[in-house]
C-alpha cells in the first residue's frame, strides 16, 4: 500500500504518472491514459478484478530496460517505479490471439446485433486489429436458443464469451446468485438457477448482469445497450429513498432505456427492476392529459386557464367564508424539494394556514420526531457507504432487499462477508439467513424488545460511560427505567427467548462500530416515535454516533420523503424545521415570504380527514397522493373526501382519490421534470428532465407557481436553479447548495458554503447540544386491547420489491406481469388449524371490515401472525386496517391489525379480489 502523502510514481510506456493507494495496473492506466487504452473483456469497473480474459495483459519491468514479464493488469497491484508497457509487440500479439480464439465461437451478425456499436467485444476486436481468424469452423455454440421468457430480462447465449461478468454482477452487485457457470472448459456456459429460464429462476430483474455483459448475451427487452438513443440524461430514481442515479437514454421525446451510471456514489452501476425497467408508465395511455373540472357532478376537460380561474375563485370563496384554516394541503414525497417547498409556501403564504402535511406523516414522521427529540435532527446520522466500515448491522422493522433494494443488496453483501447481522422483525425476511441473529418478535412489541436489548447491554457493563458523560443527558432516568424492567414480563410480551436477545445485544454493544437501519416496522406503531427514541438510546449508550460505520439510519420509503419534511411540509415546522409557533421564526417566515403567515400549528393528515368529516375543513389540495387507497381505514377516508366542499388533485393518473376531486390537474412524471430529491442519507441530488412533459401536462412546480401567481402572489417562474437558490436562503442546512455545485452525485446536508456536504452528523456534538436519553415502558396497542380477543390474529403489512405502494406506476409496467396480486402469508400451524391450504381464498375480518385474499402457507411468519402487501388496492387491505396512530405523530399503525381468518369458497356472485389478474391492456407495449 502506497502512503497517501508521498508522491509516488510509476511509468506507462516511458512516462511517469502519480500513483494512488490501492491502484492495480489497469486502474492506474485507465485513470491516466483512459479506459480502453488497455483493452479488457472480463474486467468491469463495478466488479472485483477477475483476471480471466487476459486481454488486459501488459509487460512490466522494474527498470526501463530491465527484463520484462507479462501480467494481467486488472489484478496486479501497482508498485512504485514500475515500468508498464502497454503496447509491446508481445502483448499486442497475445491480445490478438486471445480475441481471435474468442471469435471462433461468436456469431458474425454484428450489423444486426442489438448492441452493434456499443459492444465491448467489437471494440476490443477493432482495437487489437483482428483481420483474420486462423481457425477453421469447428464445434461452436452459435445455435443456442434465446431466452425471451421474462418480462424484462433476455439472453442470447450464442453471443456469450464466458467472461463471467454477469455471474459476478449477480454475486457481487446484487447478491442473488442466480447466474452461474455450468460445465467446464469449452462446454462452460451461463445458466440461470438450476438451468432454467429467466422467468423460472429466482432472478430479481435488477439488470446488473445485463449492464455488465460486454455483448448482447444478456440484455433486456428495452435493449438498453443499443446505440439507438441520441441523448442521455442523468437523473434520480423516484421509487424509493435510496436515490439511485439513473442514466436515461432517449431519442426524440421517447425514453428508450435506463442504465445505472458507473461510479455513481449511491448506486455504482446498480439499481433495481423498478429504477431500471419500470419506466413505461410515463407515456402510458392512461396518463392524464387535460385539466378536469367537475361541473354538475361530471368531469369536463378544460383549459389550464379555466382550471386555474375556477380554483382561484373557489379557494377565494372558501377562504373568505370560512377562513384560511378551512383549507389544507397534502404535499408529495414523490415530488422534488422545490415542488414541496412551493406547496408549503402556497399553503402558508398564499392561503395563510399551517394546514400542510405530507405522506411522511404515514411513514417516517415518528423517525423525524423521535430523532429530533434525541439528537436534534430528524435524519439519518450516517451514510450508506458506512456499511464498508461497520462491524455490526442492526436491522429493525425493515426489509431492505424488498423495500430499498440497492441498500438491501449492499447490506446482504456485507453480511455475506461476515459482518454480524441482527434482524429484529416479526417475519423471516430475506436477510435473515445471512444474519447472525433473528429476533422474531410479536408485532407491536418493539418497545419491550428494545428495552430488554438495552438492559442486557447495561447489565453486561458494556455502556460507553465516557460518551454518555461527555455528550448526553438524562442517563440516570433511563438507567432507573432499565433497573425497573421485569424481564419475565418482557419476554412474555415479545415472545423471543431472552438468551437470544442477550446474545444479539452483546454483539451490538461489543462491535467496534455498529450501524442501525430501520423502516416502517419501527414507526408505524402506536409507540412508533418512542421506539425511535429507544433506538437512539442504544446508539448513544454504546457510543455509536458521530463516527464512520455506526449511527441511526432510517430507510426512507419514498424518494423524497426526507426532502418533503425538510422543505416544511409539516403542520408544526416550516421550511428548515423551524417551529411555526415560535414568534421569532414566525417573523422570519413572514419577512421571507413577504406575506402574513399563521403562527398556529395546523392539521396533521389524520386530523385533516377528521376535520373534513366534522365539516371544519372545506377544501383540500392534494399533490400526488392517493389517500383513498393508501391511508388506513379507507371508508373513513372516503367519507372525508365526500364531506369536502372542494378538492383539487394534482396527479399523473386518474387515481381513486382523483375520482373524488373537483379539479384534477395533469402533472408531469419525474422523467419530465427538474429539481432535487433528498435521499435517506440526506443526499440532495439533481433530478433532470429526460423528456418534455406529455402534451397537456405540466410539472407540479410549474402548476404551483402558476396558481400562486393567479391568486396574487408574485412567485417567479419555476426553474430548478432559481428555486434551489430561494430554498438556500431560508433552509439553514441548504445554505451552501447551488444547482451546479451539487454535481453528479449531489451533496449531503447540511451543505455549507461552497457546496460542502456532510457525510456523518453529530460528530463531536449533537445538533441539540446533548443527546437525550428517554425511557418508555411498553404499552399494548389499543387495537389489540380492544379487539384482540375477538380477532386473535395479528395482520401486519409490508411491501414487495416489484411494486411501489399502490402500484399506480409499477402496475402499468412489466412489473405487473411479474407479481400479479397480494397474498396472505399464513403460518403452516395456523393454516392446518383453520383448514387452509396454499392458494385457498381466505377472508380476513377486522373490527372495521373484511377482505378476501389468496393464502400462501409459509413459515416466514410465526403462528398467530399473518402478513400481506398493499400493492393491489382493489384487494382493499386498508378496509381492515385500524385508526390507531402513533401517540406523538399520528402516524397510522399499519403494522398491527387484529383480525380473524377463515377459508372461504369461491361462491357465485362473491367477488374474490385475490385472483383478479390485471387486464393486459393496462400494460404499455
Amino acid at each position: 500500500m502506497v502512503s497517501l502523502t508521498a508522491k509516488t510514481v510509476a511509468y506507462i510506456d516511458g512516462s511517469a504518472y502519480e500513483m494512488e493507494p490501492g491502484d492495480t495496473i489497469l486502474k492506474f492506466v485507465d485513470r491516466h491514459v483512459g479506459r480502453g487504452h488497455v483493452p479488457t473483456l472480463c474486467d468491469a469497473p463495478q466488479l472485483e478484478p477477475y483476471g480471466a480474459c487476459r486481454v488486459c495483459s501488459v509487460e512490466i519491468a522494474l527498470t526501463a530496460d530491465g527484463p520484462r514479464r507479462v501480467v494481467a493488469s486488472c489484478h496486479t497491484p501497482l508498485t512504485e517505479n514500475l515500468h508498464i508497457f502497454t503496447e509491446s509487440k508481445n502483448v499486442r500479439d497475445l491480445r490478438r490471439n486471445i480475441v481471435e480464439l474468442v471469435l471462433t465461437d461468436h456469431p458474425l451478425d454484428c450489423l444486426t446485433c442489438e448492441v452493434n456499436g456499443n459492444c465491448e467485444l467489437q471494440t476490443v476486436a477493432a482495437k487489437v486489429g483482428i483481420r483474420k481468424v486462423r481457425y477453421p469452423e469447428g464445434k461452436n455454440h452459435l445455435d443456442r436458443t434465446k431466452d425471451l421468457s421474462h418480462p424484462y430480462m433476455t439472453s442470447d447465449l450464442s453471443k456469450c464469451i464466458n467472461c463471467s461478468r454477469c455471474v459476478r454482477a449477480c454475486d457481487e452487485v446484487q447478491g442473488q446468485m442466480v447466474l452461474s457457470m455450468h460445465g467446464r472448459g469449452f462446454n462452460a456456459r451461463i445458466i440461470k438457477g438450476l438451468d432454467t429460464s429467466f422467468a423460472e429462476s429466482d432472478c430479481v430483474s435488477c439488470g446488473a448482469c445485463a449492464q455488465a455483459c460486454p455483448t448482447s448475451a444478456i440484455s433486456d427487452v428495452h435493449q438498453s445497450k443499443a446505440i439507438e438513443a441520441t441523448d442521455s440524461t442523468r437523473t434520480v430514481c423516484t421509487y424509493c429513498g435510496v436515490g439511485c442515479n439513473l442514466e436515461v437514454k432517449t431519442k426524440g421525446n421517447e425514453v428508450l432505456g435506463i442504465t445505472a451510471p458507473v461510479g455513481a456514489e449511491v448506486n455504482n452501476a446498480h439499481t433495481c427492476l423498478k429504477g431500471r425497467y419500470a419506466f413505461k408508465f410515463y407515456n402510458h395511455p392512461d396518463r392524464l392529459r387535460k385539466p378536469l373540472v367537475r361541473y354538475n357532478g361530471h368531469f369536463e376537460e378544460v383549459s389550464w386557464d379555466e382550471a386555474y380561474d375556477y380554483i382561484a375563485k373557489r379557494l377565494g370563496e372558501i377562504k373568505t367564508q370560512h377562513g384560511p384554516d378551512a383549507i389544507a394541503g397534502i404535499s408529495s414525497a414523490r415530488c422534488t424539494n422545490e415542488e414541496n417547498y412551493l406547496m408549503q409556501k402556497f399553503i402558508r403564504a398564499v392561503i395563510g394556514t399551517n394546514n400542510i402535511d405530507c405522506c411522511a406523516r404515514v411513514c417516517h414522521s415518528p423517525t423525524a420526531f423521535g430523532m429530533q427529540k434525541s439528537f436534534g435532527t430528524g435524519a439519518a446520522t450516517n451514510s450508506v457507504v458506512d456499511l464498508q466500515y461497520t462491524d455490526c448491522i442492526l436491522i429493525i422493522g425493515a426489509n431492505p432487499t424488498e423495500g430499498h433494494p440497492v441498500t438491501g443488496a449492499k447490506i446482504k453483501q456485507r453480511l455475506m462477508k461476515g459482518v454480524t447481522g441482527i434482524v429484529i422483525d416479526p417475519r423471516r425476511i430475506e436477510l435473515v439467513p445471512y444474519a447472525k441473529h433473528h429476533l422474531q418478535l410479536r408485532p407491536g412489541t418493539n418497545v419491550a424488545l428494545l428495552n430488554m436489548f438495552a438492559y442486557y447491554i447495561w447489565e453486561a457493563g458494556l455502556v460507553d460511560r465516557e460518551f454518555i458523560e461527555k455528550r448526553c443527558e438524562n442517563w440516570a432516568d433511563f438507567e432507573n427505567g432499565l433497573r425497573s424492567l421485569d424481564l419475565d414480563e418482557l419476554e412474555r410480551i415479545h415472545g423471543v427467548d431472552r438468551e437470544q436477545v442477550k446474545a444479539a445485544a452483546l454483539d451490538y454493544a461489543r462491535a467496534e462500530a455498529a450501524m442501525e437501519f430501520h423502516g416502517l416496522g419501527v414507526t408505524e406503531h402506536s409507540q412508533g416515535a418512542k421506539t425511535v427514541m429507544l433506538i437512539a438510546n442504544l446508539a448513544m449508550m454504546t457510543g455509536n454516533i458521530g463516527r464512520p460505520g455506526c449511527g441511526v439510519n432510517p430507510l426512507r420509503g419514498q424518494n423524497n420523503v426526507q426532502g418533503a419534511a425538510d422543505m416544511g411540509c409539516q403542520p408544526h415546522q416550516g421550511a428548515g424545521y423551524m417551529p411555526v409557533d415560535d414568534p421569532q421564526w414566525h417573523e422570519t417566515y413572514e419577512k421571507f415570504y413577504g406575506m402574513p403567515v399563521s403562527d398556529e400549528i395546523g392539521y396533521k393528515i389524520p386530523q385533516m380527514f377528521e376535520a373534513a368529516r366534522e365539516g371544519k375543513l372545506k377544501a383540500l389540495w392534494l399533490m400526488g397522493e392517493d389517500v383513498v387507497q393508501t391511508d388506513p381505514n379507507s371508508e373513513a377516508v372516503k367519507e372525508a373526501m365526500n364531506a369536502l366542499d372542494f378538492l383539487v388533485v394534482q396527479e399523473i393518473f386518474m387515481t381513486e382519490t382523483a375520482q373524488y376531486a373537483d379539479v384534477v390537474l395533469p402533472a408531469a412524471s419525474f422523467l419530465e421534470k427538474s429539481g432535487t430529491f433528498t435521499n435517506a442519507e440526506r443526499r440532495v441530488q439533481r433530478v433532470q428532465a429526460a423528456v418534455e412533459p406529455l402534451p397537456g401536462t405540466k410539472p407540479d412546480g410549474q402548476i404551483l407557481v402558476e396558481i400562486m401567481n393567479r391568486m396574487g402572489y408574485p412567485q417567479p417562474d419555476y426553474t430548478p436553479e432559481g428555486m434551489l437558490a430561494e430554498i438556500a436562503q431560508i433552509v439553514p442546512f441548504f445554505k451552501g447548495a447551488t444547482w451546479d455545485g451539487l454535481g453528479d452525485n449531489g451533496k449531503q446536508w447540511p451543505i455549507q458554503e461552497g457546496n460542502v456536504g456532510t457525510a456523518i452528523m453529530h460528530v463531536g456534538q449533537f445538533k441539540r447540544g446533548l443527546g437525550k436519553f428517554h425511557f418508555f415502558p411498553f404499552r399494548e396497542s389499543e387495537e389489540l386491547v380492544a379487539h384482540g380477543k375477538e380477532f386473535p390474529f395479528i395482520l401486519t403489512t409490508g411491501r414487495l420489491l416489484e411494486h411501489y405502494n399502490c402500484g399506480t406506476m409499477t402496475r402499468r409496467t412489466g412489473n405487473g406481469r411479474i407479481v400479479t396480486k397480494d397474498v396472505l402469508a399464513v403460518n403452516p400451524a395456523d393454516a392446518a388449524r383453520k383448514g387452509i391450504e396454499d392458494g385457498d381464498h381466505v377472508r380476513i375480518v377486522s373490527a372495521r371490515g373484511e377482505v378476501i385474499l389468496e393464502a400462501q402457507v409459509t413459515d416466514e411468519v410465526k403462528p398467530g401472525v399473518v402478513f400481506t402487501t398493499f400493492h393491489f388496492p382493489e384487494h382493499l387491505v386498508n378496509n381492515v386496517t385500524s385508526d390507531v396512530h402513533c401517540d406523538d405523530t399520528l402516524c397510522p399503525e399499519y403494522k398491527i391489525t387484529a383480525v380473524d381468518i377463515e377459508k372461504v369458497l369461491d361462491e357465485p356472485g362473491r367477488q374474490v379480489h385475490s385472483s383478479r389478474i390485471v387486464p393486459a391492456e393496462v400494460f404499455a407495449k
Binding site: 494481467a72 483474420k132 469449452f186
Partner: protein
C-alpha cells in the same frame, strides 16, 4: 528392512529406499490403527507435541523437504508464510486430488497406510497452529475416502485427534472431503474454492495467496499427501539426519511412478537424485520392450516437458557446464529443471519408437481440453484448439501451417492464465513441437489448405464502431 516381508512379486527393488512406502504391499500389514501402533505409530506425534510448534517447523525446514505434489516448493518455508500477526483460524488441507496423468503414489499411501498420513497431518497442524484440517480426496478414490474416514475415527478414539490430544491441550479435527471429478481441484486455490462449496475456479494471486487468504479467506496450508507423510519421518530422524537422504537441495526420498513402454511399470521409492533415468528405466523397470528404442520420456507427470531419447543436455555442475545424456539424468528436482523439464509429481511416462508423436500429443491435448475449467480465455479456447489441431494431425488432415499455429496457441496460454493449468496444458505442446517438429510436420497433409476464416462482416461492423 530385513525384518519386513512383502507380498510375493511386490518386493521392492534393491535400489529403492522404502520410507513412505515402507508398509505398502507389506505382508501381514493392514490399515487398522492397532497394526500401525504396533510399529511405533503416533510416537512422532507424541514427540512433536512435546516440542514448540516453531521447532517442528524448524526441523521441517532443516530437512529441506520439497513438495511432492508437483511444484517442488520447500514445505517448511511454505508454512512460514502464514502472516505472523494473524488472528484468524489457520487451516491445513491435504491435497489428495492425485490426478496428474502418470501419477499413482498417494493412493497407495491412503489405501494401505492411512495412519501415516494422519500422523503427518497432525504434526503439521500442530506446527502451523491449525485446529481443523481437511483431506480433499478425488472422487475417483471412493475406497480411499472410506479408509480415511475409518482411520480418522480410530485415531480420534485413541486420542490422537479431537480435543486435548494426548493431554497436551492441542485440539484437531480432520475431515475428509470428496471431490466431484475435476483435475482443476488439484490446483490449490481451485481446491479451496471447491472445499468452500463453489465452482473450483482458481483464484487470482495476488491477492489470494493461500497462506494468507486461503480457505474462507483465512491462512491455509495446502500440502500433498506424500509431503505430509514425510513430516512424520522428519520428526523421527531429525531434520539434519533426514537431509542426508537424497542429494543437497533435493533431500529425502520420493516415489517415482513409471508408466508407458517399459517391461515392469510401477512405483519405486528412491532417494532423490540417487537414481538416474537410465537406471530407472533399464534396471528398475526391466528395460524397454524387446526391440524397441527409447523415443521420449515425460519425467514428472503429463504436464512436464518431454525429453527426447538420445537428447544431450548442457547443465551446470559446480562451475563447469557438462553434457548429460537423457539416461544419465539423476532423478532430482534441480537437474530435471536444468534440462528444461521438471520432476513434477514423480510420474515418469516412457514412450518408445512404436508411438506416433502426434497420437501421444493428441492424447495429452484431449485430456487438458477436457479438464480446462474454462475460466481464462486463452486456456478455455486454446486448449480445445490445440486438441482440434492434433485431432487433424492424427487423422492425416493437418495443414502445413498447423504446427506453427499449434505452437503459437500454446505460447499464448503459457504464463497467461490465472493458475498453472495454463502451463500444464501448453508445455506438452511446446515441448513436443520443439523436439519432434519434423515428425509432426510429417503428419500434415500438404494438400490441406491453411484454414483462414475472414470475418469480414464482423470487421466491417467493428470498424463502424470506431
Amino acid at each position: 528392512m530385513a525384518d519386513i516381508n512383502y507380498l510375493p512379486g511386490k518386493e521392492p527393488h534393491a535400489r529403492e529406499h522404502r520410507m513412505i512406502f515402507r508398509n505398502v504391499d507389506r505382508a501381514g500389514w493392514d490399515t487398522s490403527i492397532a497394526t500401525y501402533l504396533k510399529e511405533g505409530g503416533y510416537e512422532q506425534l507424541k514427540a512433536a507435541l512435546k516440542m514448540e510448534p516453531k521447532a517442528v517447523t524448524e526441523e521441517v525446514k532443516k530437512a529441506g523437504v520439497r513438495g511432492r505434489g508437483g511444484a517442488g516448493f520447500p514445505a517448511g518455508l511454505k508454512w512460514t508464510f502464514i502472516p505472523p500477526n494473524n488472528t484468524k483460524p489457520v487451516y491445513l488441507i491435504c491435497n489428495a486430488d492425485e490426478s496428474e496423468p502418470g501419477t499413482f503414489k498417494d493412493r497407495y499411501i491412503i489405501h494401505q497406510d492411512p495412519h501415516q498420513l494422519i500422523e503427518g497431518m497432525a504434526i503439521a497442524c500442530f506446527a502451523v497452529g491449525a485446529k481443523l484440517a481437511y483431506i480433499y480426496i478425488r472422487e475417483e478414490f471412493p475406497e480411499g475416502a472410506k479408509i480415511l474416514e475409518k482411520a480418522i475415527a480410530e485415531a480420534r478414539e485413541k486420542g490422537f485427534l479431537g480435543k486435548n490430544i494426548q493431554g497436551t491441550g492441542f485440539d484437531l479435527e480432520i475431515y475428509v472431503h470428496r471431490g466431484a471429478g475435476a483435475y482443476i481441484c488439484g490446483e490449490e486455490t481451485g481446491l479451496i474454492e471447491s472445499l468452500e462449496g463453489k465452482r473450483p475456479y482458481p483464484r487470482i494471486k495476488p491477492p489470494y495467496f493461500p497462506a494468507a487468504m486461503g480457505l474462507y479467506l483465512c491462512p491455509t496450508i495446502v500440502n500433498n499427501v506424500e509431503t505430509l507423510c514425510h513430516v512424520k519421518h522428519i520428526i523421527q530422524m531429525g531434520g539434519d539426519e533426514y537431509a542426508k537422504l537424497g542429494t543437497p537441495n533435493n533431500t529425502g526420498t520420493r516415489i517415482l511412478c513409471v508408466s508407458g513402454d517399459v517391461q515392469k511399470p510401477g512405483y519405486f521409492e528412491v532417494q532423490v537424485g540417487k537414481v538416474t533415468m537410465g537406471e530407472l528405466i533399464h534396471d528398475m523397470c526391466g528395460g524397454l520392450k524387446p526391440g524397441r528404442k527409447l523415443k521420449a520420456v515425460i519425467p514428472g507427470g503429463s504436464s512436464a516437458k518431454v525429453l527426447r531419447g538420445g537428447e544431450v543436455f548442457k547443465i551446470k555442475r559446480g562451475d563447469a557446464m557438462v553434457d548429460v545424456s537423457l539416461e544419465d539424468i539423476p532423478m532430482d528436482f534441480d537437474t530435471l529443471a536444468a534440462c528444461g523439464s521438471m520432476a513434477g509429481s514423480g510420474g515418469v511416462i516412457v514412450i518408445d519408437d512404436s508411438r506416433s508423436i502426434s497420437w501421444v500429443l493428441n492424447n495429452l491435448n484431449a485430456f487438458y481440453a477436457h479438464e480446462s475449467c474454462g475460466q481464462c480465455t486463452p486456456c478455455r479456447e486454446g486448449s480445445l484448439w490445440m486438441k482440434k489441431i492434433t485431432d487433424r494431425l492424427v487423422a492425416g488432415q493437418g495443414a502445413p501451417g498447423d504446427i506453427d499455429t499449434l505452437d503459437s496457441v500454446a505460447r499464448q496460454i503459457d504464463g497467461r492464465t490465472i493458475c498453472a493449468f495454463g502451463e500444464a496444458c501448453s508445455w506438452p505442446t511446446e515441448a513436443f513441437v520443439a523436439k519432434f517438429r519434423d515428425e509432426l510436420v510429417a503428419d500434415t497433409n500438404p494438400g490441406t489448405a491453411d484454414a483462414i476464416v475472414n470475418r469480414e462482416t464482423l470487421l466491417a461492423a467493428a470498424n463502424l464502431a470506431q
